[in-house]
Structure formats: structure tokens, C-alpha cells
């Protein structure tokens, strides 16, 4: 990534409405540095693709300004923005060969035949399809077609590459393989990528930063580890990774921590993140892997839990328990052999630390 302060892409108070009434994107602000891999993550209809299309120029912003390399581009047509795009359905020209598909963006840029040929060959080598230049898209697998689409988006050295759920049509194994390939291409070429997906694992694998969208608003914009470890609200905590949720009212606040009553005179000591006053309702977020069975004295929160279901997953046993009246409380018990005696219906002590439990909105 570039160290300069001037962002390559900047959204300033951008809003979008299709009907003039409902905002599908609400006051979107984003700075994206050159060389960054930024993912917009969110459920369907959250506004992430709309933001991508506004940057591409296929959707006009209803309000706000979009900048590319410091220049406002709201009134710049798509073909003058110098942006490469990759789509979920590959969007290749079906009757052209792979090499012709790659050469086309260069031909419309009036590149010479020899330069075009060089670039096409390099792009094909980059996506490991050097031998497939003469084939038509229909003669390739889904993964190979998507690689061609990636190569086509990169072949003309765009300022930014936009990827709209590019791996959505691939099966799980291929998707995971392609995630690494795209990540490596990004690292090797130092290109700037704005990526849209609803798949959190995809976002966590590839991104420098992730913008989590919901209802047209960015809920949190942070690196993957921060999003997972320090979600700022209940939506992010739920959307990124697995999460145990307990609900209650704040009964006391002490600096960075607070106590939340979760019912039946049970009080949970939690990190104060998104609560302000005593009496506020709060959602407590605890990651399953941060909960331990039979906790030691260093654990601030210790409760009784009843084992409801045990699912063997190899490296750990996914244990569903009833804890603080929540019957979907998940604990990931490491498969160390020591807890092999755990049976459904058993009652055990469970515990977690205050700093692993976040009191959110």
C-alpha cells in the first residue's frame, strides 16, 4: 500500500436513492489508499454493490461526491474512469477466444498489435492460463473463466479494479483456491482492489480492510482482525464470525467495563463498548472460542451450563449449551482428549473473561 495521505478513492457523504424516497446508501464515507484491498461486506440489499456501481459510473450518486485520484468523478462517464471490473457471472464475450477477450480492452485503447500480444500473454501467464488463449469461454471451467475475467480486468493496468462477488458462482473448494489466487495477484502487482461479497470468510481471507454494510450504512470499517476481535455493534459481531449473544440491562458502569443483568439475578461483567448509561439495554457478544469449561479463578464470569448437543468437528467439539437461559450458547471445546467424558445433559461450569465479552448496543 502507498504511504501517501492522498486516498486513491474517496467517497464523501454519498447517498443513493432509486425512487427519490428510500435511501439505499446513506451518507457513505470511505477513503481507500492506493494498493489497498478493501472489501465491502454485507447481506443482500445492504447497498454494497450500489456503492461499487457508483464508483464504476454505472449508477449516479443521488448526493455526495466521489473522487478518484483526487478528482471528482460524479460527472465522468464510466469509460473515462479507467476502472477494471470483474463480475460474478464472468461477463466474457462468449464467442471470442480467451486471448481475444483479453485483447479487446487493449484494442479499444489503440494499443499496437505487438504490445497487445505481449500484454495478453503476460496476463494469461499471471492467471496460469498461458495454454488456453485459443479456447472459447465455454470450453473452460468456471474457475478458469473467472481467471480470464480477472486477467481481462487487469490487462490494461487500471487504477482500480472493482470485483462484484466474483467467486459467487464457484463451488466451495474452487472459491477458496481462487481467494488465494486473487490475494496473491493483488500482493504481486500491488493493484488497488475494491471487492464486494456477502461471504465473510472471503472478506477475512483477502482484505486489508473490510467495510461491513447494513441497511445502506457502513457499520464498521476496519482490518479483518479488528472486526472480529473488536466489533463495534451487535450487527458486526453477529455478521463476522460465530457469536454468542446475551441480552440484558446495564446495571453499573466502571470506567471501560460495565455490569449487565441478564436475568435471574445473573450479572455479566463486560467491556463497555457501545453503552452509555446505567439502565440501557445491551447485547453482550462473546466468541465461542473464548468460553472455557471449568474455568479458573482468573475468569470474571462463571456460570452453570447444561450440555444440549455435541458435534464432533475433528479439531474441536462444537458444544451447544443452555447458559444464562440462552439455549443456543456455543462453546468450541478443543479436541484435546481431556474432555472426552462430556455427555449431553451434563451440567458444567463455563466462564469467560471480562475483556472477551463486549457490551454492545
Amino acid at each position: 500500500m502507498s504511504d501517501t495521505n492522498e486516498p486513491l478513492v474517496r467517497f464523501v457523504d454519498v447517498q443513493k436513492s432509486y425512487d427519490g424516497v428510500t435511501l439505499v446508501v446513506k451518507k457513505f464515507n470511505l477513503d481507500m489508499q492506493k494498493g489497498e484491498f478493501l472489501t465491502m461486506l454485507g447481506p443482500s440489499g445492504s447497498g454494497k454493490t450500489t456503492c461499487l456501481m457508483m464508483l464504476a459510473g454505472f449508477e449516479p450518486a443521488t448526493h455526495g461526491e466521489i473522487f478518484l485520484q483526487g478528482q471528482p468523478i460524479n460527472n465522468v462517464p464510466p469509460h473515462k474512469r479507467g476502472i477494471g471490473m470483474v463480475f460474478q457471472n464472468y461477463a466474457l464475450f462468449p464467442h471470442m477466444t480467451v486471448a481475444e477477450n483479453l485483447a479487446f480492452p487493449l484494442q479499444v485503447r489503440n494499443m499496437s498489435k505487438s504490445d497487445t500480444e505481449d500484454r495478453v500473454n503476460k496476463a494469461l501467464d499471471m492467471v496460469q492460463l498461458g495454454e488456453f488463449g485459443g479456447r472459447r469461454p465455454a470450453q473452460l471451467s468456471g474457475g478458469q473463466q473467472q481467471r480470464v475475467a480477472v486477467a481481462r480486468a487487469l490487462v490494461f493496468d487500471p487504477d482500480v479494479v472493482l470485483m462484484d462477488e466474483p467467486l459467487g458462482a464457484l463451488d466451495k473448494n474452487l472459491r477458496e483456491q481462487m481467494q488465494y489466487e486473487i490475494k496473491h495477484i493483488h500482493e504481486n502487482l500491488g493493484i488497488t482492489v475494491l471487492y464486494v461479497t456477502h461471504d465473510q470468510s472471503e472478506a477475512l481471507t483477502m482484505s486489508n480492510r473490510i467495510a461491513v454494510f447494513d441497511d445502506g450504512v457502513v457499520q464498521q470499517l476496519a482490518p479483518p482482525s479488528t472486526l472480529y476481535e473488536k466489533p463495534e455493534n451487535a450487527f458486526v459481531a453477529q455478521f463476522i464470525g460465530e457469536n454468542n449473544v446475551l441480552s440484558g440491562n446495564v446495571i453499573s458502569i466502571d470506567g471501560d467495563s460495565c455490569h449487565v443483568d441478564v436475568g435471574n439475578n445473573r450479572s455479566v461483567h463486560a467491556l463497555k463498548v457501545n453503552v452509555n448509561n446505567v439502565g440501557d439495554t445491551s447485547t453482550l457478544s462473546i466468541r465461542p472460542e473464548r468460553v472455557v469449561l471449568n474455568p479458573g479463578s482468573e475468569y470474571n464470569n462463571v456460570f452453570e451450563g447444561k450440555v444440549e448437543e455435541l458435534i464432533y468437528l475433528g479439531d474441536h467439539i462444537r458444544t451447544r449449551m443452555v447458559v444464562c437461559d440462552d439455549s443456543d450458547f456455543i462453546v468450541k471445546v478443543p479436541n484435546s482428549g481431556e474432555l472426552g467424558q462430556l455427555r449431553e445433559g451434563d451440567t458444567v461450569k463455563v466462564g469467560w473473561k471480562m475483556e472477551d465479552c463486549r457490551a454492545l448496543d
Binding site: H79, R81, F87, A91, H95, M96
Partner: protein, 388 residues
């Protein structure tokens, strides 16, 4: 220049598409004229009576009317002896047609009474009905001869009963079958032009939107007008190729067309077809623009096929208009695309003189309409909802 790159891409892309290739360069210009021309020949042959052709006729009791049998024989009727179950044999198709002569045939003739004859024909069999028409015509001729002889025998001039003789003189010199043939030529041209650009227009606009390859195209440094002109150019090439092939196939078709079915005034020779092609060629611009515009308006291939399918009916409108109404060439009709070409091409085929002002008006009106449609297509492509 960039429009040419898009055009080249679309042409190459679609030449490799078998469906487009089949409809543009095979179905429209080759198969369609063959189908329509073949149907016409079959239809004309069905209704025409060929007195030179030898027709086989089974006769029951042929000895009862030797003169009639001799008359039929002298008019290329090959008489055979009928089987016992003559009605069943005609119905089964064992014999095409049969004539039953009763024993009293000669007696009735001698008494100057109407002499009965029964003709067995199978109306469900086209060969049988065609043969029946010929036999009926011959028997009718034989009857007229006898009638004349009877009157002369009684000292009466047969002309006494011919009080009025009306002669109809067809000044068109081509007759109604000629008129139909003359209308067929523009119909074939226009249909094959539409077929030529039909799938390409759908594929390059609605099809591209549907498979979402329009986004990467519009993201390239190409003005929307370049994109539209490129797609229009590709469609125009296919439409032109299709119409050139139509000229060749119509030329070839009329080489094999029975000359007796083409009235004297009609011409389908090389120079006539070239002249017709030149007059109809502005329609390539109009129809290509229309195909692109309609496709650009639609959101999916299916929708485009529905709309363009309806567009196929449009060329039929002038065809039926001219078949059922007497529309003379006028300033207003010459300004209308398709109608003007129908009227001009009819004149070309019928060897009538063409008013140069009319030809100019037809070319100008058609090109202007095409350019307006092209402008509309460009406007449609500039909309934000082109990708929605």
C-alpha cells in the same frame, strides 16, 4: 474508429454463433425464398390444367361411348379398363380417377336427351382433383361440339345462342398471378433482411445485457455512441449480406421457375434484381436501426424475441395492403419505408417506368427514418437504466 472495433468484434462474435449464422445467412436469404417459391410453384401447378400431360383415366363400360373415348384419347388421356369396385378403387388411390358410362349413354344421345356420365374423383387427393378438372374440361369441350352439331343438323346456326360476346382485355399484361409474384419480391427482401439482423441485434444488445457482458463493454474507453454505431454496423453488415444472398437465391429460384407460370410482363433476370436490390438497399439501414432500437429497449433476450417477433408482422402489412387495396404510388406513400419499396419493386418487376422523384423520396424517407431510429438507440444506450 472505435465504433469499427466494436463492429468487428460483434461480427466475429456472431459469425461464430451457429444460431445467428443459420438465421442470418441461410434461413432468411436461402430457405425462405425456396419455401415461398416452392409453395407458389406447387400452388400454380395445382390449379393449372396441363393438356399436354398424359392423364390416366379408368373407364367403366368404355364400349358404350367409343367416340367419347376416342376424343379423350386424342387429347392425351390414356384410357384403362376400370376395376370392378371402381368407387372403392378411387377412394383407396389404386386409380386416380374413373369415368362410368352407362349402357343407355348412346341411346340417350341418339334421342337428343342429356346423356349421363359419372366421374369418380377423390377430392382429398390433389392429383385426383387435378385430373378431374382436366377430364371435366375435355368432356365439356366434347359436349359443346355435339351441341353445335345438333343445332347444325336442325338447320340452326349455333351462333344464334351467342347473343353477346364480352372480351375482357387485361391491360396490366401480367394478370393476378403476376401481381402476386411481383409483391413477393419485396416481401422476400424485407423478411430476409429482418432475419439477417434479427439474432445479431438481440445478441449484441439484449443478449449482452442478459449475460451482463455489457458492463465490461461500457467500462471500456468507448463513447456510448461508438458502442451503438458498432452494433448497428455489425447488424447492417449481416442485413446486407443477407439481402445480397437473397438476390442470388431469388435469381436462382426463378431460373427453375416454370416459365408458363410467369406472365409476359414479369422480369426476374439479373439486371432487374440488381435494380430491385439498389432500390431496396436503404431499407438495410432502416431495418438495422429498428432492430437495434427495439432490442436496446428490451431487458432480456426473451423480451427482445417477443418484440422483434411482432416486428416480423410489419413487412406483411404493405404486402396485404397492396393485395387488397388499390394504392397507387404517391408522394406520401413514397416517403414511407417498406411501403415505398413494395411499390417501387413491383414496378421494377413489372417493367413499369419508375418516377425518379419517387425513387429519391423513397431513399430519402427511408434513410431519414433509419437515422432517427439510430439516434433513438443511442439515446437509449445513454440511459442509466440500460444496465438494469
Amino acid at each position: 474508429m472505435k465504433a469499427l472495433i466494436v463492429m468487428y468484434k460483434e461480427i466475429v462474435d456472431n459469425l461464430r454463433d451457429r444460431q445467428t449464422f443459420f438465421y442470418a445467412l441461410l434461413f432468411g436469404p436461402v430457405l425462405l425464398p425456396l419455401i415461398i417459391g416452392g409453395s407458389l410453384v406447387a400452388s400454380f401447378k395445382q390449379f393449372a390444367i396441363d393438356f399436354d400431360e398424359v392423364t390416366e383415366l379408368a373407364i367403366v363400360n368404355e364400349t358404350a361411348a367409343p367416340n367419347l373415348v376416342a376424343f379423350l384419347y386424342s387429347n392425351n388421356v390414356d384410357v384403362i379398363t376400370a376395376p370392378d369396385e371402381v368407387e372403392a378403387a378411387v377412394r383407396a388411390g389404386d386409380i386416380m380417377i374413373a369415368l362410368e358410362i352407362p349402357d343407355e349413354f348412346g341411346e340417350q344421345l341418339r334421342k337428343a336427351n342429356p346423356a349421363p356420365l359419372t366421374l369418380y374423383v377423390n377430392d382429398a387427393d390433389k392429383d385426383s382433383t387435378r385430373a378431374a378438372r382436366k377430364i371435366s374440361a375435355l368432356v365439356s369441350g366434347y359436349k359443346n361440339t355435339i351441341n353445335s352439331l345438333r343445332m347444325q343438323h336442325r338447320g340452326i346456326d349455333p351462333q344464334v345462342f351467342n347473343s353477346i360476346e364480352l372480351t375482357e382485355f387485361d391491360v396490366s399484361e401480367d394478370g393476378s398471378s403476376g401481381q402476386l409474384l411481383a409483391s413477393i419480391l419485396p416481401f422476400l427482401f424485407i423478411m430476409s433482411m429482418i432475419m439477417g439482423g434479427f439474432y445479431l441485434a438481440i445478441d449484441t444488445t439484449a443478449g449482452e445485457r442478459e449475460r451482463m457482458s455489457l458492463e465490461p463493454l461500457l467500462a471500456l474507453p468507448l463513447d456510448r455512441a461508438d458502442v451503438v454505431y458498432g452494433k448497428f454496423g455489425a447488424t447492417l453488415c449481416f442485413v446486407l449480406m443477407s439481402s445480397c444472398l437473397t438476390v442470388l437465391s431469388i435469381y436462382a429460384l426463378f431460373q427453375f421457375f416454370p416459365t408458363e407460370l410467369i406472365s409476359g410482363g414479369l422480369r426476374f433476370d439479373g439486371s432487374t434484381l440488381v435494380k430491385a436490390f439498389l432500390l431496396v438497399s436503404p431499407l438495410t439501414v432502416f431495418l438495422s436501426a429498428a432492430l437495434i432500437t427495439v432490442s436496446a429497449y428490451t431487458r432480456s433476450t426473451k423480451e427482445a424475441q417477443t418484440y422483434l417477433g411482432l416486428m416480423m408482422i410489419v413487412p406483411m402489412a404493405p404486402f396485404f395492403l397492396l393485395q387488397f387495396f388499390s394504392l397507387g404510388a404517391s408522394t406520401w406513400s413514397m416517403a414511407l419505408p417498406m411501403l415505398s419499396q413494395y411499390q417501387l419493386l413491383e414496378k421494377v418487376v413489372l417493367q413499369d417506368d419508375i418516377n425518379q422523384w419517387h425513387a429519391l423520396l423513397s431513399v430519402g424517407g427511408t434513410l431519414l427514418a433509419g437515422l432517427l431510429l439510430l439516434r433513438l438507440a443511442t439515446k437509449l444506450y445513454r440511459r442509466d437504466r440500460i444496465l438494469m
